[in-house]
């Protein structure tokens, strides 16, 4: 009985006490005990009242009264014996109750014998008065003892019940605190999870089997221009729109039938516009078969795809550059091979002239033809020589060069292209042709590129004005300005901004490196290159170079 004061786990009783079943049992026992006591008192009271009333109105007197009292007591005993079966299995309580009942029964029997003795004047049990008072004393003492014992049992039971109640209330308080802590921790976990899913640069969504959103992270909601709360609970079609829904509905069906689904698609978001998404539908399978919904994880791969395409494009361009480079290297050998027959042609033609003179005098028609053959073969050799020089590889060697010579070289190389497209070139040179300290091949490359671009631009438009202005001038001492102006379609703002960027091109076949290289070359010569649109269409490229190259300190 009682609890271990400092919680030592010394007995099973303590454990027994802490269980709720035990608490119920104890309170039930007390309840029954109290019920029996009340029953006893009430029935005794009722019996006494009946007897007193009957005596007062003279209905029964003397012996009859005692007989009725005994009968009532017997009925009471039978009733209590019935209750006895339901009494707690506590020996002390049972003994107390048995004692109490025995006293009551004996009291009634003694009362009856008294009546008999008084009626017949014959003592039934010897000296009835002495026996009577002795037994009465004995019975009273026993009854008092029984009552005390009963009260003691009651107190014990109450105490035990109280202990139980205290332990259980402590436990209950602890449980409540634990539950609160668990709820707080769960809330924090949810908050953390929300924070993580909201920070991830991906769309994370959970859709249930009725195709209603159960979860949507912030990036997803933002893309749709909604708050997560506005999405959760709504049907997918309602949120993403009918058209988008139609394009993903078969994936949703697949996911809800338990298949892991992965696909790339172009999706148009209210806030982000069209994006290329890599989407994963992961079914949420419960048990063996039941699909309760599916998770959606979607990444924006627009940039990645663009980069991949750019890499592909660069790879193709590199391959092209490599081919061009190979051709450049071949040009040297090619020049040698071509120069052999050209030298032979030139000499054969000259032989022809000499032979003609020796045989038939000077033929007015044939001689000039043979001379022209000879001249043209020498010219062909010159073109090859310049081309070879143009593609030759070597360290840049800066020297003082005539800008007009560079112009001549460029126009020689582009002559055929310009003629074919019916483009005329207006070369404007000051009276004293300017010189510049530069690498002639690199400068030639820049101007060739600009004139070539200008010619391409002009061929894009159907116009009567098909002219390129190639101008050199010295706007101030120490500075040479070279201008290439065309009558092409001009450039957009965007193109003007990026035209010198590497791999920026508006041509379908273009590599987008020509002008970037031009800028690099001009900047390596401490110069500047710029482009503007003409007021009457077309564009103008302007190169400004210090006449004395790097050594000069001219403010451009």
């Amino acid at each position: 009985m009682g609890l271990p004061s400092n919680g030592k786990p010394h007995d099973s009783e303590a454990i027994e006490l802490t269980s709720p079943e035990n608490l119920n049992e104890v309170s039930d026992r007390i309840f029954r005990f109290v019920l029996i006591l009340i029953g006893l008192v009430v029935s005794l009271g009722v019996v006494s009242a009946i007897l007193n009333l009957s005596t007062r109105y003279g209905l029964i007197t003397g012996l009859a009264k005692d007989v009725v009292a005994l009968l009532c007591t017997c009925v009471l005993i039978i009733f209590l014996l019935f209750l006895y079966r339901r009494l707690p299995r506590d020996r002390t309580t049972r003994i107390c109750l048995s004692l109490f009942l025995s006293c009551a029964l004996l009291h009634r029997i003694l009362g009856l014998t008294d009546e008999f003795s008084a009626l017949n004047n014959v003592p039934i049990l010897g000296d009835s008065s002495r026996l009577h008072s002795a037994s009465r004393d004995l019975l009273s003492t026993a009854a008092i003892g029984a009552v005390c014992a009963t009260v003691y049992c009651l107190v014990l039971s109450l105490r035990r019940c109280f202990e139980c109640f205290r332990v259980n209330s402590d436990r209950m308080l602890k449980e409540i605190a634990d539950r609160k802590r668990a709820e707080e921790s769960a809330r924090r976990n949810r908050q953390e999870l929300r924070l993580i899913t909201d920070s991830v640069p991906a769309f994370i969504v959970y859709v249930d089997s009725a195709q209603r959103y159960r979860f949507a992270n912030k990036p997803y909601a933002d893309a749709l221009g909604l708050a997560p709360d506005q999405i959760v609970g709504r049907h997918v079609q309602e949120v993403i729109g009918r058209n988008e829904y139609r394009s993903v509905s078969h994936h949703i069906e697949a996911a809800l039938s338990g298949d892991l689904t992965e696909f790339d698609s172009s999706v148009s978001y209210r806030k982000l516009g069209p994006r290329l998404m890599h989407t994963l539908f992961v079914p949420d399978v419960y048990g063996d078969e039941e699909v309760r919904g599916f998770f959606v994880i979607a990444h924006d791969i627009t940039e990645r795809k663009r980069t991949e395409e750019q890499i592909q494009q660069h790879r193709r361009e590199l391959a092209h550059i490599s081919r061009v480079n190979t051709m450049g290297e071949m040009a040297s050998g090619l020049a040698h091979e071509l120069n052999q027959p050209l030298a032979a042609i030139s000499m054969y033609a000259d032989c022809g002239v000499v032979a003609l003179q020796s045989i038939a005098g000077d033929d007015a028609e044939l001689s000039p033809i043979l001379e022209k053959i000879q001249l043209q073969s020498v010219r062909a050799g010159e073109i090859i020589r310049r081309l070879k020089r143009f593609v030759s590889k070597g360290p840049p060697s800066c020297e003082t060069i005539q800008v007009s010579e560079v112009f001549d070289d460029v126009l020689t190389l582009l002559e055929s292209e310009l003629d074919t497209n019916g483009i005329s070139v207006d070369v404007q040179m000051p009276e004293v042709p300017p010189t510049v300290h530069a690498d002639s091949i690199q400068l030639e490359q820049v101007i060739l590129n600009l004139v070539h671009n200008a010619a391409e631009a002009i061929t894009e438009v159907q116009s009567d004005r098909r002219e390129i202005v190639l101008q050199a001038r010295t706007p101030q001492h120490g500075i040479v300005e070279i201008i290439v102006r065309d009558t092409g379609p001009g450039m957009s703002e965007e193109t003007l901004k990026h035209v010198f960027d590497a791999f920026y091109t508006t041509k379908s076949e273009g590599m987008g490196i020509g002008l970037a290289i031009c800028r690099t070359i001009i900047e390596s010569h401490c110069g500047k290159i710029s482009v503007t649109c003409n007021s009457d269409g077309g564009s103008t490229f302007r190169i400004v170079l210090p006449q004395n190259g790097r050594e000069s300190h001219v403010d451009l």
């Binding site: 040297s332 020049a335 040698h336 091979e337 120069n339 052999q340 027959p341 050209l342 030298a343 032979a344 042609i345 030139s346 000499m347 054969y348 000259d350 032989c351 000499v354 032979a355 020796s358 000879q374 073969s377 020498v378 062909a380 050799g381 020589r385 070879k388």
Partner: protein
């Protein structure tokens, strides 16, 4: 008699060039002999003969520069006109200092060749 008559010895691997140069020189009244390689020339050349060498710089086998060195080694002081389909300035300069009379880049105006030969014979 033929020793006093100067000859132009053409050494070039290109058949058309040899043929055309031979015809051209004959048209201008020069005597010429053609060789398809430097080795052929060395085999057949008689050092006592007078003339000049019209020598291609780039040839399979022994090239023009090597032939020039070989002739110098054998102490044959014949003037050389180099011709090339692929002129490299540094090579040209070194050849000039080593006793070459001229360097012509193919294709050249025939007159330039004639003047170069006349210069060589003048030496």
């Amino acid at each position: 008699m033929w020793t006093s008559d100067p000859t132009v010895f053409i050494v070039d691997d290109d058949d058309a060039f040899r043929d055309a140069a031979g015809k051209l020189l004959r048209a201008y009244g020069f005597k010429s002999e053609a060789f398809a390689s430097a080795e052929d020339f060395l085999d057949q050349f008689d050092p006592s003969r007078v003339g000049c060498l019209l020598l291609d710089l780039q040839m399979p086998g022994m090239d023009g520069v090597e032939l020039q060195s070989e002739l110098r080694r054998r102490n044959i002081p014949i003037p050389i006109i180099f011709i090339t389909g692929n002129a490299q300035v540094p090579t040209a300069v070194s050849n000039m200092t080593a006793g070459a009379v001229d360097l012509l880049e193919k294709p050249f105006p025939p007159q330039e060749l004639i003047s170069a030969i006349e210069r060589a014979f003048g030496q």
